[in-house]
Symmetry: C4
Subunit: 127 residues, 4 copies
Amino acid sequence: MKAIGKIDWAFSAGRIPFKNNGEEPLFMSHDKIAVLNTSEENAIVELLIFYEDQKPVGTYEILVRAKRLRKIRFNDLIAPEAVQLERNYSCLIQTNVPVVIQFSRMNTGANSNAEMSTIAFPVEPEN
Amino acid sequence: MKAIGKIDWAFSAGRIPFKNNGEEPLFMSHDKIAVLNTSEENAIVELLIFYEDQKPVGTYEILVRAKRLRKIRFNDLIAPEAVQLERNYSCLIQTNVPVVIQFSRMNTGANSNAEMSTIAFPVEPEN
Amino acid sequence: MKAIGKIDWAFSAGRIPFKNNGEEPLFMSHDKIAVLNTSEENAIVELLIFYEDQKPVGTYEILVRAKRLRKIRFNDLIAPEAVQLERNYSCLIQTNVPVVIQFSRMNTGANSNAEMSTIAFPVEPEN
Amino acid sequence: MKAIGKIDWAFSAGRIPFKNNGEEPLFMSHDKIAVLNTSEENAIVELLIFYEDQKPVGTYEILVRAKRLRKIRFNDLIAPEAVQLERNYSCLIQTNVPVVIQFSRMNTGANSNAEMSTIAFPVEPEN
């Protein structure tokens, strides 16, 4: 199967909630991306995190194996440094092979278990 | 009417919740896609399911009649094998005629009836 | 200002909830589209409704004035016939001038006031 | 790093809820956009607000610094005039450098803390 999707993606409205009332780890509040790699090659996913008041942090490198899905929780990113809780952030995602990326948030800190999800923005390469 | 939409689609953040407190079948927790076929021809929809830790499963073949909508619940897919509950999955969707696809989740297992929905990602054919 | 957006749009996962506990009309359960017409010309918006088990119904014609927004509730569509409650439907939207369309649902029939919203799918004209 | 994204964006389903039961300012009901500027240049973001029954208001000018994210709450826009509460509005967003924009709403006035979010619509420049 040929690779499907795009190599560059972004989303801008990241924020990891601090409070949560869910059980660990499934219902813990989190931001995550789901990366689908349909290609025959492993994908090296590079994340760059942008903030409101400091320079970008990264890159975070993550492997998504050939013909596999991987969910990446921003809570789990620790090197070069942890993504800070309760701070707005954006994320630029660049890969070596085309992938499809969906961004989701589960917020269990309020009266409800709110979930929202949107396909990330496929950044067109500017040729 | 000419066919509108795209022939290849994907979403990456699938997960069928196990717990639910809704009445069957309307409020049962589920993942689903709504496939709109505006064309004069029946659409053969082929689904391929990707997982985190095993090779892809499929294809699942589903008919969407000409000038009709069809909602496909991932809970209902049984051949070649059922989509497993509480496991992350992604889905590649390929058809013979252009369609429009929206992905939704209803989660009734928590304190609330959370619903989220997003247009799936239209995969551009790489010519 | 030049017109921005697209002339053809679609979404597939329509469904007007029957039950609701909200006050009329603001918190009544509903499906709606918000149509933004930035152009200098009035837009004639034509809706065609697709169902699972009968032929398409329409068109419904709605005016969106120049440089104005209009929210269209599917509950309010009555001619040629009302959109049926608790039935899945899809919608094809065609206009004479470019517009931007967002699809939303408010569901007040459950324990929570769930709201979901997504930009509709801009159907590329096939030249 | 080269700038990524688009220079023109829009969303149509804006509405700032009036009632809210959250603590200020984090959980107050609001509409917001998150603007990611990956470029080396500051971005001047110009917002134009459209209503159902009056002519467009704007432009509102907002600076998003180079290599930074900025969240803009529509509740906070005051000049040339405040965006009115409980009224439907749409927004056209134009910048001098490519950016990525996500639109979100937090509604804390109901029984739940409903959150919804979608990537805004990237308006293709018509060449």
